[in-house]
Symmetry: C2
Subunit: 215 residues, 2 copies
DNA sequence: ATTGAAGCAGACAGATCTGTCTGCTAGGTT
DNA sequence: AACCTAGCAGACAGATCTGTCTGCTTCAAT
């Protein structure tokens, strides 16, 4: 049901009133059940239907939460949207890291291995493209939601640039940019044509580009 | 102001009650002024703010048209959305063709020249990504709006495949897929990071991929 | 001169959406 | 025992959105 597998690296909301568990002491699970239910429901509905298409009332109904409880945790809908994007960021970044590591220790192999995460994502049932690109399409530049999207893409680009650098690319920035372009293209068009060969083509292209950049 | 330049190849709405001018005879301009104003306004607002963010009332106000006139031309908002996508399809297809032709007669050069259209688009003031990807993010699979997006992407892929075939690629489908992935990636992420080098990186990658595919 | 098509102006209905507010219940801490 | 926090239930207000309908004007063709 989840579009991006099983939350391997989901990190919490953008934590204004919360702190990460220091060691022991306050061991009581401070992540309330209601908040998590809201977040889970929002994740599912926002991704499947789009952000503007999902009203607060629907999230409240499907998460079985009172309206006052909802607005206590998220004073405005946009706060929930940002928390949703934080969740997706954690999941997707985790999947990218996992796919890279699974490709072996060599950075050059990891650059190509990234694209296995793309294949997995596109194969997911209910796959509907990149949550960030979709969110950006529904938000205006300068808003917190749009900024969150930009920050995510910048973080991924930075990380890939580091990988390209360790791989010994002559121009890590350009290689990383090319690979993220391919990745974003695969994420975006994976929702439009159900062509199962698209991720494979992306990976093959990535291989060629990495090989050319290291030659 | 227009995000995609000056409507070089805009073709008309999906014409249910209209017929294309057969020869002479009914030479009276059947494309009323009101319809065109609605379409122009919708083009501007839908692209800039997103489809769901723009209400019918706003389009009516900004196009200076009566509400009854609006609903006479477009019985439902979605009809206008589809007409808007038709307009974008005409413009963008025209720009792709123009960029390809400008690159010279050789199909291999044209495959790379495509990416000049990407550069131009991203440089446009108010560029906000691919109108089709954005529309797909706001619509559900199976709806006319979503279908229109899928059809557009399929048409572009077909056309690029033909180009790749004429260029002599061993596997035109795979090359075309790779290039459209790059193109879509550039279109999508061009709205997120204002990195002016992204289109150049896309073009350089395209060059490498085309060269590799023809080797 | 009359008719008809196209357009303008705006009221109206019904649905939906965000956000506020009041009351109530349950569990844990002091 | 008193209290506080988290949560549930749902009414309510105000805005907005889609779509319908009535009435008036203008212009061109018959």
């Amino acid at each position: 049901m989840d579009p991006l597998a099983e939350h391997p690296a989901a990190h919490a909301g953008r934590g204004a009133p919360e702190v990460s568990p220091p060691a022991a002491a306050v061991a009581t699970p401070r992540t309330g059940s209601a908040r998590q239910r809201i977040l889970d429901t929002a994740f599912r509905l926002f991704y499947a239907k789009g952000i503007r298409a999902v009203g607060v009332d629907l999230i409240i109904a499907e998460s079985g939460v009172a309206k006052a409880t909802f607005y206590k945790h998220f004073p405005a809908k946009d706060d929930l949207v940002v928390a949703y994007l934080d969740t997706v960021d954690g999941i997707w970044s985790g999947q990218l890291h996992d796919a890279a590591e699974a490709a072996g220790p060599a950075p050059a192999d990891q650059l190509v291995g990234l694209f296995d995460a793309l294949s997995s994502a596109c194969r997911q049932d209910g796959y509907r493209g990149c949550a960030f690109i979709n969110a950006a399409a529904e938000s205006q530049p300068g808003t917190p939601v749009h900024d969150r999207t930009v920050a995510h893409k910048a973080a991924v680009l930075d990380w890939v640039t580091g990988l390209a650098s360790r791989a010994g690319a002559a121009n890590p920035q350009v290689l990383a940019r090319s690979l993220t372009l391919l990745l974003d293209g695969g994420l975006a068009s994976g929702a439009l044509d159900a062509d199962p060969d698209a991720p494979a083509a992306a990976k093959a292209s990535a291989e060629a580009l990495v090989a050319a950049a290291l030659a």
